[in-house]
């Protein structure tokens, strides 16, 4: 523990030297404050479609203050001419709205409708008393369809709304608020990454590694200041937005760990500076989409619980959620953190860090280093079991990606992509060991393929067990994680796919991508027939 604190203090000193003199941190703080301020002002004004529509107005028209419209004051005659020659999209003459029949003009009319509705409601609300301006109340009652108990009880509605003042339940704003929590964490990770790069550059890592500290202590020590920073920003944001601080911490702590885990991988794998930039960008994009995409569907689809932001959205809406809902996103994230910490301790050695090789070879070496210290019969199935949370996350990302495809292709694409991913995960450990000459014989290859399939299946079913109660109405997710709970046939099937790949590559000398393609296609065909009810 002491060692960790020493390294953490050393990290703080490094940053202080970097941004030395006292003036620069102040400048950064000022800049950040300015940014915060401008984003606060921009919050309401920037929307989808800024500056897209030109509107001509004439006569008594309410003031149009919306970033989507550029307003032009014209005479009635002029307005009609400008509309004709497509210089403006809509012309408002007093209370009359004149448009063309083409798409652009019609889009503008719809946008105008959205704006005018709000503006008119404000006007009416200000000039008349509440009950006359809003004469309708809608009482919302809920009926439990599964329990045809008694009469509907009209006495006390669960909620009473005024239709024009109650916006439909879109979580956009709350998702944006929860994004603010993620921003500082990804920003600070630049320094976390740089810290390792610095050591590598100055060859100080060699010195550090020869000192009596373990790689684990080095990583923890370096992470500590940034983790503390991340947690304190979480507390601050929760405090500013009047959220429950403890709950916010509980929600965002696994997310923070997860993001740090991912950024720990960046300095371990980079070869040139440009690599770092590109890998970091890729990682940021993938994690952000993993976090945001599901949260958009809060309360619409139960699958949205895969993202912790969904919990945060619920927190801001003051809706309750239970332990299962909390563990569903938090467990995979924490698991990935632990796995990367383990990988980090194995990879933090000079030979691995300094080697300049193609990225794929580097990843192969990394897997080898993680497996090499224990017996293949233990490490291979463990590997297949432990990377399941990562597989799970990637499948969510595939799903995000697939929503762009034509409807007919979505299922096919996700099935094929997840088959490929599963096959990579199951076979890569054996292939890497074979390349280093650890496993050779047919017996070993088949034995390991079986164990790898077993490990994978156990992990998959455990995850399914956790999620099956949650993801009830998501057929695609069901297909991705295997429909049949019957264990024997899937086990044999997984074993066969993996053996095909391993044998094709190791014994028949197929290039790995080709062997992978063969195994994936067989897997895909199996999945499709399972879905059609063949097995």
């Amino acid at each position: 523990m002491n060692q960790i604190l020493v390294i953490a203090w050393r990290e703080v000193t490094r940053l202080r030297k970097r941004f030395g003199g006292g003036a620069s941190p102040l400048a950064v703080l000022l800049l950040l404050a300015m940014l915060g301020l401008s984003s606060y002002f921009l919050r309401d004004t920037v929307s989808l479609g800024a500056g897209l529509y030109r509107v001509g107005v004439s006569g008594d028209v309410p003031l149009i203050e919306d970033s989507r419209f550029s307003v032009l004051s014209v005479s009635p005659q002029e307005g009609r001419t400008l509309l004709e020659d497509k210089t403006i999209d809509v012309f408002i003459d007093g209370s009359q709205v004149i448009s063309r029949s083409d798409d652009r003009s019609q889009y503008a009319v719809r946008a105008l409708k959205q704006y005018m509705e709000v503006a008119e409601l404000t006007r009416v609300g200000n000039s008349y008393d509440g009950d006359s301006a809003f004469p309708l109340r809608v009482g919302i009652n809920y009926l439990d369809a599964s329990q045809p108990a008694g009469e509907a009880d009209a006495a006390t509605p669960a909620e009473v709304i005024i239709p024009s003042l109650t916006p439909p339940p879109a979580p956009f704003t709350q998702v944006l608020i929860t994004l603010i929590y993620i921003m500082p964490i990804t920003f600070i990770s630049i320094f976390f990454t740089s810290s390792f790069m610095d050591e590598k550059m100055n060859r100080r890592l060699t010195v550090l590694l020869s000192a009596p500290v373990t790689p684990f202590q080095i990583i923890m020590g370096k992470m500590l200041p940034y983790a503390l920073f991340a947690l304190s920003t979480t507390i601050l944001i929760a405090w500013f937005t009047k959220a429950n601080i403890l709950l916010a911490l509980a929600i965002f702590a696994p997310t923070t760990l997860f993001i740090f885990a991912i950024y720990l991988m960046v300095p371990l794998f980079y070869r040139t500076f440009k690599d770092t930039t590109f890998i970091a960008m890729l990682v940021t994009t993938l994690t952000t989409s993993y976090l945001i995409f599901p949260a958009m569907f809060t309360n619409v689809n139960d699958l949205s619980y895969i993202s912790p932001l969904t919990l945060a959205v619920k927190m801001y809406r003051e809706e309750p959620f239970g332990w299962r809902e909390y563990l569903f996103p938090s467990f995979p994230m924490t698991a990935i953190f632990l796995l990367t910490m383990f990988a980090g301790t194995r990879l933090l050695n000079e030979e691995f860090l300094m080697g300049y090789k193609p990225l794929t070879r580097k990843v192969g070496d990394a897997i080898y280093l993680m497996l090499a210290r224990s017996k293949p019969y233990i490490s291979v199935p463990l590997w297949s079991l432990l990377v399941i949370p990562a597989v799970y996350m990637f499948q969510i990302i595939f799903l995000t990606f697939a929503t762009n495809l034509p409807v007919g292709l979505i299922l096919g694409f996700t099935l094929l992509a997840s088959a490929l991913l599963e096959e990579i995960v199951k076979s890569v450990s054996i292939v890497v060991l074979a390349r280093h000459g650890v496993v050779k014989s047919w017996r070993e290859l088949f034995g390991l393929s079986f164990l790898s399939a077993l490990g994978f299946l156990i992990g998959e079913k455990l995850l399914l067990l956790i999620s099956i109660s949650m993801v009830s109405d998501a057929p695609v997710a069901g297909a991705m994680f295997g429909v049949g709970l019957l264990l024997f046939i899937p086990l044999i099937a997984h074993f066969i796919f993996t053996s095909i790949i391993v044998v094709a590559h190791v014994k028949l000398k197929f290039p790995y991508p080709l062997a992978l393609a063969v195994g994936t296609i067989v897997h895909f065909i199996y999945n499709v027939s399972v879905m059609r009810g063949g097995f």
Partner: protein, 343 residues
């Protein structure tokens, strides 16, 4: 001078292609583009009543019939399937038989207000969907009640076409695909300049017949060329997808200038700070700040690109001049300050 700059450009481009990192960058852009449009499609499918009605099929609502009924026709007009029942108990029974998804009770008078009771299933998914599609008829009904009280809501009869996709493509997707390569170009410039400093290869490089300024120019130019090629590729892809884009020449020119601005300011922060860590940090802060400032000052290049793309009548080459002038100023500043890199 020109040849030495070109030699640097060639070397930079060759290294980018050899590392294969540019592939990651293109993948990211593809992912962001498809991610955001996927998000939009998802949002549309789930939160836009028009789209729900278009794809959602028949949503069956039970209504308790009343003598003077205004709400029923409004809901039918929306495309909902309305079945009338004589009493609430009948409608209730139909709900439990699964014939209707929700029930609307007869509007009742309560102290001068009109109250309607709505019965929804407990399933959050279905009930929020119904609340979304039923919102518009309820608002129209509210308007009728207002008119009865002599309050007129103006502009209530506007229709138009759902504009979300249109707004997304022209104000988010196209600007994003045009500017993202520029942001990457800036990061690349920082990386390639600071790498020379931190690996201590700068002195060696400058012992070749190469001035500091032409070295910087070469590195900036290489990043800008990469960005420009990506922009051309994205524009052609978008057009192949059937998206109509006007003024492609002006759009590409503006994208080119923006890539120049980002790479030059990135080079400027690299020259002043000399290490990757601080330069990248300051560069990304500058990007965020200038995006905010340009929007505040109403000269945002994002808006300019959207307007070019839809063929706005008031947007012309004049809107680009300000960015070109800014780029000129930045380049001048960089050439004056470049000696700091050696200090």
């Amino acid at each position: 001078m020109i040849f030495t700059v070109l030699a640097v450009v060639k070397k930079e481009l060759a290294s980018v292609i050899r590392d294969g990192t540019i592939v990651i960058s293109i993948l990211i852009q593809l992912f962001i583009a498809s991610f955001s449009s996927g998000l939009l499609l998802g949002m549309l499918a789930l939160y836009d009543p028009d789209t729900i009605m278009q794809f959602g099929g028949n949503i069956k609502i039970g209504m308790v019939s009343a003598a003077e009924d205004q709400l029923g026709p409004l809901m039918r007009e929306r495309g909902l399937h309305v079945t009338e029942y004589a009493t609430l108990a009948d409608a209730n029974a139909a709900f439990y038989r699964g014939e209707v998804l929700a029930i609307v009770d007869t509007p009742q008078d309560a102290n001068g207000l009109t109250q309607v009771n709505l019965y929804l299933p407990t399933s959050e998914t279905t009930s929020s969907l119904i609340r979304m599609v039923i919102q518009e008829p309820l608002k129209q009904y509210e308007n009728t009640l207002r008119t009865e009280k002599g309050i007129e809501l103006r502009y209530a009869d506007l229709k138009g076409k759902p504009a979300t996709s249109f707004e997304f493509v022209y104000s988010v997707l196209i600007p994003m695909l045009m500017f993202f390569p520029a942001f990457v170009a800036g990061s690349m410039a920082v990386d390639s300049i600071t790498e020379e400093v931190e690996n201590k290869t700068l002195q060696t490089l400058l012992s070749a017949p190469l001035t500091l300024n032409s070295m910087l120019a070469g590195k900036i130019l290489a990043s800008v060329i990469l960005a420009f090629l990506q922009c051309i590729a994205w524009l052609s892809l978008l057009q192949l997808n059937g998206i109509v884009i006007q003024n492609t020449g002006w759009i590409l020119l503006l994208a080119l200038i923006i890539a120049g601005i980002t790479s030059t300011s990135a080079a400027l922060s690299a020259v002043l700070l000399k290490d990757r860590e601080r330069s990248q940090f300051i560069y990304s802060l500058i990007l965020l700040a200038s995006a905010a400032i340009s929007t505040l000052l109403n000269i945002s290049p994002i808006t300019a690109i959207s307007r070019f793309a839809i063929g706005d009548a008031y947007t012309s080459g004049l809107n680009i001049i300000i960015f070109a002038l800014f780029l000129g100023g930045l380049s001048l500043l960089l050439s004056k300050l470049s000696r700091r890199l050696l200090a």
